[in-house]
């Protein structure tokens, strides 16, 4: 037992495996934030750091938060039927800022619109009835697909 322990745990100076940092927000005039709060809790319980911006954000305020917080992914909740307008604008704003941050959308998106959103560059669309595990794995997958993912 006096042998030095041969273990596989990281050395004291090893880097943390940093938690995924996710910015959660609702864009524009859309007051239904209960879903977003549930998702915030779900992602926190999955070990992520959730930067909660909440209601009435703009594409600019979300991009600014992403830059300052060095976020890995944006989660947008949409219940105002504006997704076909707002989601592409969000993607454009992210792109213009030169960020490599995927955008995941949750909320009410008609089935017909899902493929339109995916085609426009949204990483995933998560609708009602999605389990907590599916939400977590969709966010993780979106982060993993990024070119500079660790």
């Amino acid at each position: 037992m006096s042998e030095p322990p041969a273990d596989t745990s990281p050395s004291p100076d090893a880097e943390f495996e940093a938690p995924i940092r996710v910015v959660l927000a609702k864009l524009g005039l859309d007051g239904h934030d209960r879903g977003l709060k549930v998702v915030a809790r779900t992602l926190r319980d999955a070990g992520m750091e959730v930067i909660y911006l909440g209601l009435r954000q703009t594409t600019d305020s979300i991009v600014a938060a992403c830059e300052q917080e060095d976020a890995d992914v944006i989660g947008l909740s949409m219940h105002n039927a504006g997704h076909l307008t707002l989601a592409p604008r969000m993607l454009q704003a992210v792109d213009q800022a030169g960020l490599d941050v995927p955008v995941v959308i949750g909320g009410i998106v008609p089935a017909d619109d899902v493929s339109t959103l995916i085609d426009s560059g949204v990483a995933a669309v998560i609708g009602p009835g999605t389990s907590a595990e599916e939400v977590v794995s969709a966010v993780k997958a979106a982060v993993d697909r990024q070119p500079d993912a660790q």
Partner: protein, 320 residues
């Protein structure tokens, strides 16, 4: 032409006002390890200019709103906010919700970073000074650090500022509670927020009484009444912070405080490293052998700790 060091370049970009570069640097110091040490070292060479203000108090007293307002009234061109929230001890995740209390009041020139405590609190005691150093080196000033005033470490982090603001609200409890909380000793400026509520004056009176009892000359913490959501009293609060800053300069306390801060950080860093070694030992095979004997009650926790400590020391030449 020598090729530029990427880290130097990142610092230079951050100093030029690029938020993304600054965001990346902060991520690096948060991760700990070698990269963090390199970033910290470089930041050290450029830091020491910014004013650091700590804001602490019980949950729900309005710290975030006050912090956001302060950044605006400071009139500074590049204020920064470090908002610290606890990580869940069970999952390691965190909900960082301070921004929503700030965004509406803060000018777009402010840099806001949310930070989770991540793991044991000792890590925070190292990551926060590093983050302050990086913000400082990037040219941010003032740097306002907001922490929840519960727990020794959180309080001590806010207290490790040049000026520490302690926020209370009417009905927060009488003077005895204030003493218990351990917040009184660290305050350079008191805020009674939500002053539009009944008995704000009562809260001020309680604080005055406490200060009368404990005051021993030198700086006496002023008490400012604010209604942060309306922005009332924030100018007055900033004036008091400035007055304290002037006092620090005139009395020579600033240098003393900063010396103490640096000394404390050395101890904190050693402690963190030792703590990592302890964690490693506990999780190692030989640690598990000892711990399972504790499980079976063949060994008392005290005896097991003594044994493992001896083991740890035998691998550590410094301890001799």
């Amino acid at each position: 032409m020598m090729s530029r060091d990427p880290l130097d370049e990142l610092f230079e970009t951050a100093r030029g006002g690029n938020r993304r570069a600054l965001g990346k640097l902060l991520t690096m110091v948060e991760k700990r390890g070698e990269t963090a040490a390199m970033v910290s070292e470089r930041a050290h060479n450029h830091a020491g200019h910014a004013r650091v203000v700590g804001v602490t108090g019980a949950p729900g007293t309005g710290k975030s709103t006050i912090t956001g307002r302060l950044a605006s009234v400071s009139g500074a061109s590049r204020p920064a906010i470090l908002a610290i929230d606890p990580s869940s001890p069970l999952t390691g995740g965190a909900i960082l919700g301070d921004r929503i209390r700030m965004d509406n009041h803060v000018s777009s020139s402010a840099f806001i970073r949310s930070m989770a405590t991540r793991g044991h609190a000792g890590g925070l005691a190292v990551a926060v000074p590093d983050a302050i150093r990086v913000l400082d080196a990037a040219g941010c000033d003032p740097i306002i650090v907001e922490t929840v005033g519960v727990g020794q470490v959180e309080v001590s982090i806010a207290a490790a500022a040049d000026t520490t603001v302690v926020v209370v609200t009417p009905g927060w409890g009488d003077a005895v509670q204030a003493n218990k909380a351990g917040l009184l000793e660290v305050a350079d400026v008191f805020v009674v927020n939500k002053a539009d509520r009944p008995d704000a004056r009562g809260a001020r009176r309680d604080l005055e009484l406490m200060l009368d009892l404990g005051h021993r000359g030198g700086w006496r913490a002023p008490i400012v009444l604010t209604t942060a959501t309306e922005g009332e009293g924030i100018d007055g609060l900033w004036d008091e912070i400035e007055r304290h800053t002037a006092h620090l300069h005139d009395s020579g306390d600033l240098a003393r405080r900063r010396c103490r801060r640096r000394r404390d950080e050395v101890a904190d860093r050693i402690e963190l490293s030792l703590r990592d070694q302890v964690d490693q030992m506990i999780q190692s095979e030989s640690g598990e052998v000892v711990l399972s004997r504790v499980d079976r009650q063949e060994l008392s926790p005290a005896a097991a700790a003594e044994f493992l400590l001896a083991e740890l020391k035998s691998h550590n030449p410094l301890e001799g």
